[in-house]
């Protein structure tokens, strides 16, 4: 287990600094080189390079047959990906914004997720869907949501959420190689973030959380951009003598309960930080995991959830900031929690 985000990559491999978007693009290129079944579908992913420039110039390398611009038809496009996967291809379908998953829920939830089970295991649906998600860009209510918990609620889907360029590449490669439908949520504010990424092929296991920072006083479980805010808060807390352990969830389904339970047993305190709406979200699942486990007896104080506000995402930048946990919010919550520690 590594202790810092940078230390995670093997020191020997050719490691460069890549942005999160470049890391995703590299994963797709590697998969397309290695496997002729892999192809990309999505809106404006060809010559435009994707709304967030993730596919970039892949169309020039692989041609329009393998980097397919679709019409604006999310339901149909998702269904075409399902059918192609059932018939032997390995499609990667890009949603221009994760919010548009709502238009394709039928194919994702009723078809992709259930086909294998419903048909008695006789066929699999090896597809990947990519979802640019999250707030912070001033794009307002219909372009800023964090719907990962929706899809994580559906057995048959796997849901991952990388927070670093390293994991973006490794989890996407793992997703492409997985025999079942994998949904990958990419936070829009992370696309330009740079970090070390090994050259060549590697995977990050689906279903494994990662401890980004060890600490004895409190466990902070976070996902996506919240991992970075939690790490910033942890730095500031350390200056006050509070050592927070930060767990990067990385996978929502399957969820790595063992790492969380083990951590809480050591720290006796738990805060869940996530951008999706607080109520009935990821935090509820993690809290219940602890309540149902032997870690419950170790708790020194009530669990705290910091999640998105109970409203659509507003346009005004001050309101938008207030609608999701920020570094200050996390810092204050941990400080409060530990204010009267014995």
């Amino acid at each position: 287990m590594s202790t810092a985000i940078e230390a995670e990559t093997a020191p020997d491999a050719g490691v460069r600094e890549l942005s999160y978007a470049q890391a995703l693009q590299e994963a797709m290129a590697i998969a397309m080189e290695a496997d002729s079944r892999v192809f990309l579908m999505g809106e404006d992913i060809g010559v435009y390079g994707g709304a967030f420039q993730v596919t970039g110039d892949l169309v020039h390398r692989f041609g329009e047959d393998r980097v397919m611009d679709t019409p604006i038809s999310e339901l149909g496009g998702a269904g075409v990906a399902v059918g192609a996967a059932m018939a032997g291809m390995r499609p990667i379908y890009e949603f221009q914004f994760s919010d548009f998953a709502t238009l394709a829920m039928e194919q994702i939830v009723n078809q992709a997720a259930k086909i294998r089970y419903m048909l008695g295991g006789s066929v699999s649906v090896p597809l990947v869907m990519r979802f640019p998600a999250g707030s912070g860009t001033g794009a307002a209510a219909q372009h800023s949501q964090s719907l990962e918990a929706w899809l994580a609620h559906v057995p048959g889907l796997k849901v991952v959420q990388p927070s670093t360029p390293h994991d973006a590449k490794g989890l996407l490669l793992a997703a492409i190689e997985d025999p079942d439908p994998v949904m990958i949520f990419e936070h829009k504010l992370l696309y330009k973030m740079k970090g070390p990424v090994p050259e060549g092929h590697y995977t990050v296991p689906i279903g494994k959380a990662e401890i980004r920072r060890p600490g004895r006083d409190v466990t902070i479980v976070a996902n996506a951009i919240m991992v970075h805010r939690a790490l910033e808060a942890a730095e500031r807390l350390a200056a006050r003598g509070i050592e927070a352990e930060v767990i990067d969830l990385r996978s929502l389904r399957p969820i790595d309960t063992a790492t969380i339970i083990d951590s809480v047993k050591r720290t006796s305190r738990l805060i869940c930080v996530y951008e999706g709406v607080k109520t009935l979200g990821i935090g509820a699942e993690i809290s219940a995991t602890i309540a149902e486990s032997d870690a419950f007896d170790y708790l020194d104080c009530p669990i705290v959830r910091l999640g998105g506000a109970e409203c659509p995402l507003p346009y005004n930048p001050e309101l938008e900031k207030a609608a999701v946990p920020q570094t200050d919010t996390i810092f204050a919550a941990v400080s409060d929690m530990l204010a009267n520690r014995i």
Binding site: E43, D44, G46, V47, Y48, G49, A51, D69, P71, I72, S73, E74, L75, G76, D99, F100, L103, T137, G138, A139, A140, A141, Q142, H143, A309, E310, C311, P312, P314, Y315, N316, P317, E318, L319, A322, A323
Partner: protein, 342 residues
């Protein structure tokens, strides 16, 4: 132009060589239409400038070059009528009577904005004047328009509804489902497709199986009309005819205004999918300059009158920006206000 017969018709000039609109509207009404087009243009240019100076955040979609479609389509409407609009909706909004001061206030994220700073450019609405809202979801407004028409019919009102949408939207299920329902229930809806030849980077040639979106009307047994969307008179003639038909209870019409967006899709577009020459060829057909020339030719506008219109638009824009700047910002305590009615 006749209503029945072949599904696609082209608006033909009257025998006196002037579009019908010149017999229908008075000189002040024509001046008002021209002024609205100029107001839309200057509103968007000023918003673009404010965005570049960092006064507005998020993104915006400009309809520069498409003003004739917005203004001409709305000419037959009054406050009893409705529209649903799109992400590229500033023109529709102004054409339906919105005040630019409250629109700017919305862009600036202020309480005096049409959405009290919660919605931004993509969600401006003015239900008091029948503007049921722009939309962040491509095709999202189409069935909503059908619903408003259903309500009007059920309540015995003679309101009509215009659903604006782009060429890209005609490949969403919402388009096809919406047109079919409007047709089977003979609802007073005018579907106005603003075909600017691209959905983001994807040309209609690459996205749409038919050359003219209007031919799709045949599948839903309603008239389909192809119009020069850069000529106000043609747009207005087609809209008047469809509105009258709808008011008489004869059901929906699909109008396709062929036009062009001069600016990029949004602030981040690098125009890789089209040529400078193509853009220039459409700039040469600027709808505002064309209308000015036409009015002048018909002896309906002097250069003094044109200058006076432009000057009054400048004053209105300057005052609106001032209004927006001084409008109060929302309070963070009100973050979750208006999620529910009570």
């Amino acid at each position: 132009m006749s209503i029945s017969g072949s599904p696609v018709q082209t608006v033909a000039p009257q025998f006196d060589n002037r579009p019908r609109i010149y017999g229908r509207l008075s000189k002040p009404q024509l001046h008002d239409a021209l002024r609205k087009m100029i107001l839309i243009r200057r509103f968007e240019e000023s918003a673009e400038e404010a965005y570049m100076r960092g006064l507005i955040h998020g993104t915006m979609h400009l309809s520069i070059g498409q003003e004739a479609s917005a203004v001409g389509s709305c000419l037959p409407l009054d406050d009893r009528d409705y529209i649903t609009s799109t992400h590229r909706g500033h023109g529709h909004c102004i054409a339906k009577g919105a005040e630019v001061n409250r629109m700017f206030a919305e862009f600036f994220g202020k309480e005096d904005g049409y959405c009290k700073g919660r919605g931004g450019s993509m969600h401006i609405a003015d239900p008091t004047r029948g503007n049921l809202g722009a939309n962040g979801i491509v095709g999202g407004g189409i069935p909503i328009a059908v619903g408003a028409a259903l309500a009007a019919k059920k309540q015995g009102r003679d309101s009509v509804v215009i659903a604006f949408f782009g060429d890209g939207a005609n490949n969403e299920g919402a388009f096809h489902e919406g047109l079919n329902m409007a047709s089977i229930w003979k609802l007073p809806v005018i579907f106005v497709c603003e075909n600017n030849n691209y959905g983001m980077s994807t040309s209609t040639e690459r996205s749409t199986a038919v050359r003219d979106v209007a031919t799709r009307a045949a599948a839903y047994a309603m008239p389909g009309v192809v119009v020069d969307g850069n000529r106000l008179a043609d747009v207005a003639d087609a809209s008047f005819e469809a509105v009258e038909r709808a008011r008489r209870g004869l059901g929906p019409t699909l109008i396709e205004n062929k036009t062009y967006r001069i600016r990029g899709h949004s602030r981040s577009d690098r125009n890789r999918y089209r040529t400078k020459e193509e853009i220039a060829s459409w700039q040469a057909r600027d709808p505002i300059l064309q209308l000015e020339a036409e009015l002048t030719e018909f002896g309906l506008l002097t250069s003094d009158e044109a200058n006076a219109l432009r000057a009054s638009v400048e004053t209105e824009i300057a005052e609106a920006i001032e209004f927006a700047k001084t409008s109060p910002s929302p309070h963070v305590e009100n973050l979750t206000r208006d999620v529910y009615s009570n």
